[in-house]
C-alpha cells in the first residue's frame, strides 16, 4: 500500500495512465465526493489538516492532468523516474478523428456496437469535434448527427440497440419537433441514444430539450402519439 502523499497523480485519482480527459473529470468529481469538507463518507477519518492537504493534492493532480501540455510533461517525468512505461502514456497526438466503425478501411469492423467497451468511451472523448460540440450549452439534432457520423455509427445500429424506430431517431436528428413524442419519452430516447455514443446521457438529454423548448415553446408536447411511444412501450 502506498500512502496518499507518495502516490503519483494517476494513483491519487485512481486512474490508468491512459485515461481520457473524460475519465479524469469523472475521477476528480468522485474524489471530491470522498474527500470534500462536507462528505459524510470520510467524516472523522481525516483531521482538518490532512483533509486540506489531500484536497490541495487532488486539485493539483487534476489541473496537471486535465491540461494536455502539463500532462505530457508530467508523464515524461514519471517515465524518466521509471514509474511509468512509455507505452502506457496517454496519447493526444492523433488530432484527427479516429473512425470507430470504418467499414471500408478494415473489413472486420464489428457489425454491431458494443456499448460498454472502454475503448469506445475513450475514442468518443478523444474526438475533438465531439468535444467541441459537447462543450456547447445547447445541443440540436444536427449536433447529435454530427457526433454520430463522426464516430461512424449508423442510425440503424442505434435503432437496433435502443429499440426505437429509425424514423423517430431521424426526426430527433432533424429537429422535427412536431413529430417527437412527449418530453418524458423523448428524454429517455435521447438518453439511450447518447449512451450508444458513450456521451453523458443526462447532459445530452437536458441540453437537447433546452434547445428544443427554447425554439418552439410547445415543441415537446405529446405529438403524434401513435408513433414511437407505442412502439417502444412494448
Amino acid at each position: 500500500m502506498k500512502y496518499f502523499e507518495e502516490q503519483n497523480y494517476y494513483e491519487m485519482l485512481d486512474l490508468a495512465p491512459s485515461a481520457s480527459s473524460f475519465d479524469i473529470r469523472h475521477a476528480y468529481r468522485t474524489a471530491l465526493q470522498i474527500y470534500g469538507d462536507d462528505s459524510p463518507a470520510s467524516y472523522s477519518f481525516f483531521s482538518a489538516d490532512e483533509r486540506a492537504g489531500i484536497l490541495a493534492g487532488l486539485e493539483k493532480a487534476f489541473l496537471t492532468l486535465i491540461n494536455d501540455e502539463s500532462r505530457t510533461e508530467y508523464d515524461r517525468s514519471l517515465i524518466a523516474a521509471g514509474l511509468m512505461q512509455g507505452s502506457e502514456q496517454h496519447r493526444s497526438r492523433p488530432k484527427k478523428p479516429i473512425p470507430l466503425f470504418d467499414l471500408e478501411e478494415n473489413g472486420n469492423a464489428p457489425a454491431i456496437l458494443f456499448p460498454h467497451t472502454e475503448k469506445t468511451i475513450r475514442l468518443t472523448d478523444e474526438h475533438h469535434a465531439v468535444r467541441d460540440i459537447m462543450s456547447k450549452e445547447t445541443l440540436t439534432g444536427r449536433d447529435l448527427k454530427r457526433i454520430r457520423t463522426e464516430l461512424g455509427i449508423t442510425l440503424e445500429q442505434i435503432a437496433e440497440i435502443v429499440k426505437v424506430r429509425r424514423g423517430l431517431l431521424a426526426a430527433i436528428e432533424e429537429d422535427r419537433h412536431e413529430e417527437l413524442p412527449s418530453a418524458l419519452h423523448l428524454k429517455s430516447f435521447l438518453k439511450a441514444y447518447a449512451e450508444c455514443l458513450r456521451l453523458d446521457a443526462g447532459e445530452v438529454a437536458a441540453r437537447y430539450l433546452k434547445a428544443a423548448t427554447g425554439r418552439t415553446p410547445d415543441g415537446t408536447r405529446a405529438g403524434s402519439a401513435d408513433d414511437g411511444i407505442t412502439e417502444t412501450k412494448k
Binding site: Y3, F4, I34, S39, P40, Y43, S44
Partner: protein
C-alpha cells in the same frame, strides 16, 4: 476475579497470530461476526434477518448472540425464553457447545443465546474466545452469524480478528460512520499488536513518540508506516495479514434523501488509506415498520415482505452469498508485491 472493561483487563498478548489463521482453522471461514461501532445501527435486526433468509434458502444456519452483556437477539427471532446460554459453555457448566443450541420457530435456523449471563461474561479472555470459536467452527452449520455488541472492546475486535472476516453495519449518519472507522482502526491496531512481539511493539511505540514530538501516534496507519520504515520484514507481515481480511460493509437505515454511494466511498477510503479491503454489500432502506415489527415481536420479512426494505434485505443476503467465496485478496492483488518482499529468501 472480576474484570473491569477494556484497559484494565490484563490479557496475554498473542505473539504467534499466524498460527491462528493457519490452514487448520481455515473452516472458520463460515463464521461471520456482525458488528458496527454504534449502538442502534441495526446489527441485531440485520443478523436476525440474514439468518432467516439464509435458513429459508435451505442453508443450515446458526445465530449466536455474542453481544455479551447485553444480549437481545432472541427477541428479534421470536425465542422468548432461551434455555441454556453461551455462558454455560464458557464457564464449562456444559461440555459441548451443541448442548446450548436452541431451536427457533424457523426450520433450519438454530440459535445460541447470550442472554441471562453473569457480569463477567462481558469480558472474556482470549483463550476463552479461542475455545469458543474453535467449538463454533466444529459445529455442523453452513453459516454461523455472530451478533456482536457495539463499541470497540476487545471482545468485539477479537472476534473480527480471529474470524479474519466480518460484516460492519453502519447508518449514513456521521456518528455511526465515525464509529465504524474507529472499529476498523482498532482492528488494524490490534493486528499490529498481534504480529509484533512485546518488546518490538514497545520499541515501535517509543519510535512513534519520538517522531511525533512526544505525543503518541494518533492512527494505527501512522504506527504501521513507522514500522515499515524501521523493519520492512515485520511491516510486510502486518501488511500481508491486513490484506488477508475480508470485511464487508452494509449501510443500514438509508433514507431516501441520503447519498446511496456513501457505502462504496467508505470502502474506497479503507482500501486506499488503511490498505484494508472492505466489500460493500448494499444499502438497506430505512422503514418505520421495522420499529413496528420489533415492537410487536413479529418478523419484519414476514409481515412486510413487499416493502423496499424487505427487498433490500433479500438483495443483501444474495450479495452476501455471492461474495462469501471470493478469492483471498492475497492471491489477486498482492501477487506482485509479495514477490518483492519474498526476494531475500531466494538469495
Amino acid at each position: 476475579m472480576f474484570k473491569s472493561n477494556e484497559g484494565k483487563c490484563v490479557e496475554k498478548p498473542e505473539t504467534v497470530p499466524i498460527r491462528i489463521m493457519s490452514n487448520e482453522d481455515s473452516h472458520i471461514n463460515n463464521i461471520w461476526p456482525i458488528g458496527g461501532g454504534k449502538g442502534g445501527s441495526g446489527k441485531t435486526f440485520l443478523t436476525g434477518s440474514l439468518g432467516l433468509l439464509l435458513a429459508r434458502q435451505g442453508l443450515n444456519t446458526l445465530l449466536i448472540d455474542a453481544d455479551l452483556g447485553s444480549a437481545n437477539l432472541h427477541t428479534i427471532i421470536g425465542v422468548d425464553h432461551p434455555g441454556r446460554t453461551l455462558s454455560d459453555f464458557v464457564h464449562r457448566r456444559v461440555d459441548r457447545l451443541e448442548d446450548v443450541v436452541t431451536k427457533t420457530p424457523v426450520p433450519g435456523l438454530s440459535f445460541i443465546s447470550g442472554a441471562g449471563d453473569n457480569l463477567d461474561m462481558a469480558n472474556l479472555i482470549h483463550s476463552q474466545k479461542m475455545r469458543l470459536l474453535r467449538a463454533i467452527s466444529r459445529l455442523p452449520y453452513e453459516h454461523v452469524l455472530l451478533d456482536l455488541g457495539a463499541g470497540t472492546s476487545f471482545n468485539t475486535i477479537d472476534f473480527f480478528l480471529i474470524a479474519g472476516t466480518g460484516i460492519f453495519v453502519t447508518t449514513p449518519e456521521p456518528t455511526s460512520i465515525e464509529n465504524v472507522y474507529r472499529l476498523i482502526r482498532s482492528v488494524y491496531f490490534r493486528k499490529i499488536r498481534q504480529v509484533l512481539r512485546d518488546a518490538s511493539f514497545r520499541e515501535l511505540l517509543q519510535e512513534a513518540a519520538l517522531r511525533s514530538n512526544g505525543s503518541t501516534a494518533k492512527n494505527p496507519e501512522d504506527l504501521f508506516r513507522i514500522l515499515k520504515a524501521c523493519d520492512p520484514v515485520q511491516g510486510g507481515r502486518v501488511e500481508e495479514s491486513l490484506r488477508a481480511f475480508r470485511f464487508k460493509l452494509v449501510l443500514n437505515q438509508l433514507r431516501k434523501q441520503d447519498n446511496p454511494q456513501i457505502g462504496n466511498l467508505i470502502c474506497r477510503i479503507c482500501e486506499k488509506h488503511l490498505g484494508i479491503r472492505v466489500c460493500f454489500l448494499g444499502n438497506i432502506l430505512h422503514d418505520d415498520r421495522v420499529h413496528d415489527s420489533v415492537c410487536r415481536r413479529v418478523n419484519f420479512l414476514d409481515k412486510y415482505p413487499y416493502t423496499q426494505t424487505a427487498t433490500d434485505l433479500r438483495e443483501f443476503c444474495n450479495r452476501f452469498l455471492a461474495h462469501r467465496q471470493e478469492p483471498l485478496p492475497l492471491e489477486t492483488s498482492l501477487g506482485k508485491r509479495e514477490d518483492t518482499t519474498r526476494m531475500p529468501a531466494h538469495f
